[in-house]
Amino acid sequence: MPYLSMQAKPEIQLPVSNLFIASSILAALFLNGLPWTGVGLILRPDFVALVLLYWCMHKPLRIGIGLSWTVGILADVSDATLFGQHALAYTLLAFGGVVLHHRLQMFDLRRQTIQVFAIFALTYAVYALVSWQVNGYVVWPYLLGCVTSTLLWMPLSLVFQAMRQYRMDRNRS
């Protein structure tokens, strides 16, 4: 397997079932929906954004801007925010992921994290901008979420990679 030695994109050829993608997005919605309160709520990473960015980066032909927008609408309903608030943020996120997916896959995880932080910061900035326009104020601590989301990028990538690896092994045997 010569392509596995290419440390940059070893998993791109692994098969990923649609079920796996869908259940990961649902799990992210579930994690976002947990009753977070207080400091936990301020530091809560946006799991949906993380998962969407991961799939936009690794499977840009399957998970794109349109699907991210749809998930954003669902997130708007579950958070009882205005329609389009999450949708707009996730649209930009997916755009960043799809456009940059070649470049990001060339990097290793540490350098990916820095790039990913910029995308999350953009997403959170859009979110804050919209809530400032609608509510007239910005909750600054909320922006801390983009830091925690970025910190979760590496573990998430490793876990997903491991799960996809496991699936491939099981299919082979």
Binding site: F30, L61, V77, S78
Partner: protein
Amino acid sequence: MIDSTQSFQFFNRGPSPVARLVFFAVLSLLLLFVDARYRYLESTRSALSVVISPIQQLAALPDALWQQVRNFYITQSKQHDLIKQNDELKLQHQNDAAQLLQLQSLELENQHLRDLDALPIRNQFTSQLAEVIYAERDVFRRKVLVNKGADSDVKLGQVVMDDVGIIGQITRVYPLLSEVTLITEKDQAVPVQVLRNGLRSIVFGVGDTSQLSLRYMPASADVQNGDVLVTSGIDGTYPPGIPVARVTKVEHDPVYPFSNITCLPIAGVDNHRHLLILSDMTKFPKRPDEKSGAENSGKRLKFRRNN
């Protein structure tokens, strides 16, 4: 390499990412605007919430489970305290139950005494229960229709009351219904006397509010705030001694010879659905002249005062 990728995407995926970005961003902004400004999308939101609700319910589950586990732990660790508390409460409950029994017997006794006390008033007439079935739709007409009519021997002019006081008078009898004019109807008059000093007067309905007024009382008349007016029994239409109204305002205007006295009815004139129609009132002998009528009322007045 970038060029080939882009053409590859164009063939497979339709519009370019930039076109998609612009389309969905504009769509989001439009939704934001519509939702923030007009709130048209509530039905869409509720439909989508059906899709998302299983996830939400699932997300609420860990917290609920955690609460249950905590409750279980608390119950286990504080079992001893709870048992002790339980014993104390049981003891207190027994104590309270004994007192409650006493209270009930006292209540019964009290009720009995009240019944005895009310007997002299009651046995002067018989009454039948009626139910209000229609109310007048005009705000300025204080009349109701009750479900007893000529078939139940209701007669014109009979008095209607509730458990505390006078409500009105039968003014029209239909075969199955009869019309009650409430004492608050404009110019409906009830002969009354002040309970405190026996001063006789006539109370009139005002009509546009639920108030009554005591007209033609000289400024020197002894009427005070809070005075209770009871029926005087003069004329024999109303039985004597039944509460009618309580004085709420006494005004002396030097321009007018009479004082302006406002009262509120004691009975729930506008409240109840069940009323009593009084019948079999003792008929007075026909009025021969002015003097004998006055004597008659004077006697009755004394009788009341002795009570």
